[in-house]
Symmetry: C3
Subunit: 346 residues, 3 copies
């Protein structure tokens, strides 16, 4: 969509600090690749080096960067959010479809709103409810009795097992699996007995679930994602996990059974969270950390070990293997030094 | 299914220690959410706090917790296994289906038992053999010449590549991929040449394979999962891995090529196992550890680093980066202290 | 295919050092399982113990192992690459198919080459271009406007979202997802706003992408895999990542947004790579390391912590938690010892 710069600034809640309000904006681009008609943005300071020479027609940025910008400026205290709104206006998502593709398999007893779209090769089992505006791309599977809330968008090959409840305006990316049986095992004489997984998965409104992410159904009670949660790709959410509203979790995180994560948390990529623990609200866990105990105070937590050149690391790791011995040596040295001083004092 | 408490205790191998044997049990529930007609259980001591006030009609627990239970009691030395059997009785799985859905694509030359169910949009390539009672939910792909043993259940969108052999009563959850080519690469002048992956995957009886887990076919010999193995979601099993009977592996584990894992092992979430090594029977590896050498003795092994507050961790990590230097300083101190003593002795 | 040993040696670029050039080779096998008619190979020295007793008809190996081989020998300075070529000759892949399966759903406005194969239940959206020789196995989804280059092979249930560009002779294994929206989030007052993901994914020629691997589309510019890249299973490649030519990445690796990885790199399994950093060419990162800063020099980098028995590890970890304190103690000891020496000198 084409917008004037003045109109754009107004609609995205920014202030047009420099530039012609009648300038036409037709696209979005990065600072380094933008040209005439493009609006760009500066949010991560690591990219400021590209600001000075950008050929964009306008840049969305923080007021303190305005003076350094050679182009028209839309200033905002939150330029990234402001840019997100601008991009959604200028490049709107495709219009939703309606109807049921002839190749879709719809079992008896489904309730499919006339304003929903059921794409090719989708399978909707009996008792499923598909609300208005839902978009199911190709090859999605919706199990018995599951409910997909209004305006939700399931991309290709998403699997929703039986009796799962999905809120409104939820996006689920390709290959994600919701409601598969949890890993519930009882051991008897060395062999595993399956514990029936009788709970479900409940997903709140405005949640996003990344590609190939898996969310297991609860053993008895439900696995719950509250409203506004953001899950990246390839995350594993075990049975009976509870994730609080507006928490964002990056890719490749594994969350063990019955862990309870608070609201407004941010969990970095590759983090592991042990089961049956609780993380309070507003906790940040940095990438590749292992959360093995409950976290009761908001703050930033870490245990990721950054890489070094292999020779140095091997030397350090050889010491880490014997760190307790090293600590005992230090204690012993402290004692010897104290003893020798006492002797000196005699 | 409705059962009397007496009948239930008998069928699950527990002892009705307290309560009316004619009490009717209609459902299962957690201690905190149970009501009249529900049987609950206590296995993890962390949940004992809910026992005192539970409204369940009966609780399955260890004899030592019996006195603390306000309700009828089914006592068992293994309450979790006992509960698993109870839940399977009270909430039996849906009856298996039979037949071939009209939308399924069946190539010529397949052998499909009349007592199997081939769900919508499944694809069965030539030469595949589907035994009695097999349940293929929607969108499964069974490649040329693969064999699915009697009573196995493949959930939606499972992919079995060509010539894979699956045992009896195996469950494979949505999105799992068995028999994809292993990561076999030869390097020549910096470029990669693919090594043909000519082995297959052989899965024993009573195995479970989690959602979006991937198991590569062998390079020459087969990748093997022995009977009773349990794999959680999002596990990567590389070519020619061998996993011994009744071993359970939690989510997000990566197992490199030709690793050999023993029987009755338990591998925690997020563990990495290096290739071409051997782990003996009855080994436990805790979450997010890296197994880089063979383990020849049963026992528990770890290297996961639990998270700390970020400021403390950064200080500790700064020291870890120079741990070898620290250890040398301690050695030097030891020498200096010994020398100064010798001087004192002179 | 049956080949004489002489012909085989010639075709794979090896030297027939011992054995009858007319001996017929019919199959390939491991040293320990080979029999008459099989050619085997020795590349990893850990398997040399099987060389002495192999019953293969011939073995491909390095010249220095020739004397220890009881059978015919094809010698090569790169026996693994030589074997890869031999296996591809002796066990050629199945012939490519042509045509469109009757169950495939082809939207209007696609351009599908007559020499391509569109398997059962595939979905090809409008504007997609499928070049000659492409093989799409069952259940693949090709989104609007995507292009699949000549000779590429997509295994079952692969999802290619809209406007993705795939080069020639690319293999994509089951369940992989290319072009899903990146994890682009702006935060406003604690809630997440989606940043439209308007870039795409561009995959060069001769790339391989493993099962259930996910590659997100760029936010503005594209996510790029240069020619010859090899990705194993269950890898997460975030938006705007750039992977240089001939780099190989093992399973379960997570690469955060806008990371730039050089050419000819090797990244071990389970590695995490932080966003917005750069790794130069010819870098090796060993398994389960965390790359948190740019790497500007070629070489080997590590931070994976190998497992120990749990009791020892717990003791060591308890010290690691207080490593900064330990280091301060050592500094204090150094000072005290220097002080006491000075006193001695007085």
């Amino acid at each position: 969509m084409v917008l004037t710069l003045g109109r754009l600034a107004e609609q995205v809640g920014g202030e047009l600090q420099k530039g012609d309000p009648d300038c036409r904006i037709t696209a979005v681009a990065t600072l380094q690749n933008a040209g005439t008609g493009d609006v760009s943005f500066l949010s991560n300071s690591g990219y400021k080096k590209y600001l000075y020479t950008t050929r964009a027609s306008a840049v969305i940025l923080s007021p303190e960067n305005s003076a350094d910008c050679p182009t028209a400026v839309i200033a905002s205290s939150n330029p990234y959010a402001c840019y997100a709104r601008a991009a959604a206006l200028i490049v709107p998502p495709p219009a939703p479809k309606q109807g049921v593709h002839s190749s879709a398999v719809i079992e008896d007893g489904c309730d499919i709103d006339a304003g929903a779209w059921i794409g090719p090769n989708c399978i909707i089992e009996s008792g499923a409810v598909i609300h208005a505006g839902v978009q199911l791309e190709g090859g999605c599977f919706i199990g018995k009795g599951s409910v997909i809330g209004a305006g939700s968008h399931l991309y290709a090959n998403v699997v929703i097992c039986h009796d799962v409840s999905i809120g409104k305006r939820v996006s689920i990316y390709p290959g994600a699996v919701l409601g598969s049986d949890g890993f519930g095992l009882a051991n008897e004489a060395g062999k595993w007995i399956n514990v029936p997984q009788l709970g479900s998965v409940v997903v709140g409104d405005d949640v996003e679930i990344g590609a190939n992410t898996t969310i297991d159904r609860g053993a008895l009670d439900d696995t719950v994602l509250e409203e506004g949660v953001r899950l990246d790709n390839q995350i594993q959410v075990a049975h009976n996990v509870h994730i609080g509203a507006h928490t964002a979790i990056a890719g490749c995180v594994g969350i063990s059974g019955s862990a309870r994560i608070g609201k407004y948390c941010m969990i970095g990529g590759g983090v592991g969270i042990v089961g049956h623990l609780e993380i309070t609200d507003r906790v940040v866990v940095t990438g590749m950390s292992l959360v093995s105990k409950s976290i009761t105070e908001p703050g930033v937590y870490s245990s990721g070990v950054p890489a070094q050149d292999n020779v140095t690391w091997n030397k350090n790791y050889a010491r880490l293997r014997q760190l307790d011995r090293l600590a005992r040596k230090v204690q012993s040295l402290e004692r010897r030094l104290s003893d020798s001083r006492k002797q000196d004092d005699c």
